[in-house]
């Protein structure tokens, strides 16, 4: 394990109005590792992952306390440019959400909004990103077709390609396979395996098997608290806490 974490959250509290959705969450994410966030519905894992790129800023009544560091920078520092943050911390959402644009324009979107004008560069980066997302062979002959004509699994890989195109350092995935069939899910999981060589990946998942298959580290959330955090193998074979064991073995959830 590399000594210095890529992202760290310390004493993180999160409120929706009066409701406290996260309580004192301390976590570290390391480079070239996949961390899975697991826990029952409403446990705060999605809220947590959306704190990491400040997506929760969009909710007017929300409030964050505590610190989240990206490298050594506090991402909730007022001077920090949230637009820059989101370029460095990319996100893939639960439901595939390609724009109603062509496959090419979807992939190039992040580059264009970040001011890249060089056509050759965009072209190369689009190809590279689609290859990295294991979608290139399926779409290379129809890059100008609308992305909405792709299957759900293809759309999700396009969303991953779209996120990769802006060269993020961290990739957040909020249940990326929950709307997909088993074969598409398998492709996404294989992809996560390859991508972790290059990125810090944090994935929220409802599926224990998926967490066990794709992640190096696992964090178990319950009722807004981080219950247990450790390497995935240990967690799934010898969890420290009874509560974790009960959840993992399906006794509650």
């Amino acid at each position: 394990m590399s000594p210095k974490p890529k992202m760290t959250s310390s004493n993180l509290d999160f409120y929706y109005g009066d409701f406290q959705a996260l309580q004192d969450v301390n976590l570290e994410f390391h480079e070239r590792q996949v961390t899975a966030l697991i826990g029952p519905s409403g446990c705060g894992k999605s809220t947590y992952i959306r704190c990491l790129n400040r997506m929760n800023d969009l909710i007017p009544i929300s409030r964050v306390e505590g610190r989240i560091l990206l490298d050594d920078e506090d991402i909730y520092e007022p001077s920090l440019d949230v637009v820059m943050l989101r370029r460095r911390v990319g996100m893939v959402f639960q439901k595939p959400n390609p724009f109603p644009k062509s496959i090419f324009e979807n992939t190039a979107y992040g580059l264009r909004v970040n001011g890249v004008k060089d056509k050759g560069f965009i072209q190369n980066r689009v190809e590279e990103s689609l290859k990295r997302a294991a979608l290139w062979d399926e779409v290379k002959d129809r890059l100008d077709d609308t992305a909405l004509g792709l299957s759900g699994g293809q759309q999700q890989r396009l969303c991953i390609a779209r996120a990769l195109a802006v060269e993020p350092e961290v990739l957040l995935m909020d249940e990326p396979a929950s709307a997909l069939d088993p074969i598409a899910t398998q492709k996404i999981e294989e992809l996560i395996h390859e991508l972790k060589e290059l990125y810090t990946i944090i994935i929220v998942t409802h599926s224990m098997q998926q967490a066990a298959r794709v992640s190096d580290m696992t964090a178990f959330f319950y009722m807004g608290k981080l219950i247990e955090f450790g390497d995935t193998d240990t967690m799934f074979t010898r969890p420290k806490l009874k509560q974790t064991e009960d959840y993992i073995t399906g006794r509650f959830g």
């Binding site: 007017p60 637009v83 990319g90 996100m91 439901k95 959400n97 109603p100 979107y109 909004v113 996120a163």
Partner: protein, 317 residues
């Protein structure tokens, strides 16, 4: 025990000869009685709703038929391309057609950017609170203001106070004010219909709020915005009251040469011919003819916009 379809129809056929346990047949009888009533209610409601729909369709059909029957004889090339002659009992209505087209166009050119900008502010930027509620209340009430009040407002503000005079531009501004609530309302609906997941995806890629609106939200809501523009335009083009004090005059043989010229307009021309013309009875067919042209113009603009909209929709898919 489940009452399967087979058991049900069997029982149905051998009614009176209960072969099943008693309580089942009680349930079945209840179900059956209810079923008959429900079916009747369904039938009555269906007929009522269909009747309502038919009346609607029929109304438009009757209006168009009535107009065609009374007005078609007036439609000649001369009628469409000449200016009114002999105290408007002869000649054509070209200045009115041009005037109405320009009024509608001008109104939409003014109202669309302002309306869309307002809707973007209200839906994308404004934080919920007293100010937002007040603005919304204002817009909603503006939609309910009678059109003659807009006419008087236009007279007081654009014509007199801003010294624009009775002119094309005063009329356009007044009609723009009239169609603003419609445009704002439908644009807001269109923006609301854009899934938040698009916004999140765009922001998540490092786009700013404006980039997100400009590149993703607006293109996705364009068909809905156009619908609003169509509705606003149709309403503006057909109005009489707002332009009678601000833009339209009884008679002017010249086509407008500048935006500060007075104009003739179709709705006002109909009103004039039918109430204050030199010979109301003799010009009856001209009145119907003018009305027919107005309807054709408005329907034509609607059709063009609908075709345009469906093209954009196809492109989005």
């Amino acid at each position: 025990m489940d009452i399967t379809k087979d058991q049900y129809s069997e029982e149905h056929q051998s009614a009176g000869k209960p072969v099943k346990p008693k309580n089942i047949s009680v349930i079945q009888k209840a179900v059956e009685a209810r079923h008959r009533r429900r079916k009747l209610v369904e039938q009555v409601l269906f007929t009522t709703f269909r009747g309502a729909a038919v009346i609607n369709g029929l109304a438009l059909f009757i209006i168009i038929f009535f107009m065609l029957k009374n007005g078609l004889s007036a439609i000649t090339w001369e009628f469409l391309s000449d200016v009114p002659r002999e105290s408007m009992t002869k000649g054509g209505i070209l200045p009115c057609i041009v005037g109405t087209a320009l009024l509608g166009l001008g109104a939409i050119v003014i109202a669309l950017p302002i309306g869309v900008a307002s809707a973007i502010y209200l839906n994308e930027y404004a934080k919920p609170g007293l100010i937002l509620r007040t603005i919304r209340l204002g817009i909603n009430n503006l939609a309910g203001v009678p059109s003659v009040v807009f006419g008087l407002f236009g007279l007081a503000f654009f014509v007199t106070y801003l010294k624009m005079g009775v002119s094309l531009v005063s009329g356009c501004l007044t009609l723009a004010a009239l169609s603003l609530p419609v445009i704002i309302g439908s644009t807001e609906e269109a923006l609301k219909a854009v899934p938040d997941t698009y916004r999140e995806a765009s922001l998540g890629l490092g786009a700013t709020k404006w980039q997100t609106i400009y590149r993703v939200v607006l293109p996705a809501s364009l068909p809905g915005i156009l619908t609003g523009a169509i509705l606003g335009l149709s309403r503006a083009a057909g109005e009489t009251a707002p332009i009678m004090f601000t833009a339209a005059v009884f008679f002017t043989p010249d086509l407008p040469g500048s935006i500060f010229d007075e104009i003739m307009a179709l709705p006002y021309h109909i009103y004039v011919l039918a109430t204050a013309g030199t010979n109301i009875e003799a010009t009856r067919h001209l009145q119907y003819g003018t009305a027919l042209v107005l309807i054709a113009l408005v329907l034509g603009m609607n059709m063009a916009a609908i075709v345009w909209r469906s093209r954009i929709r196809k492109k989005l898919k």
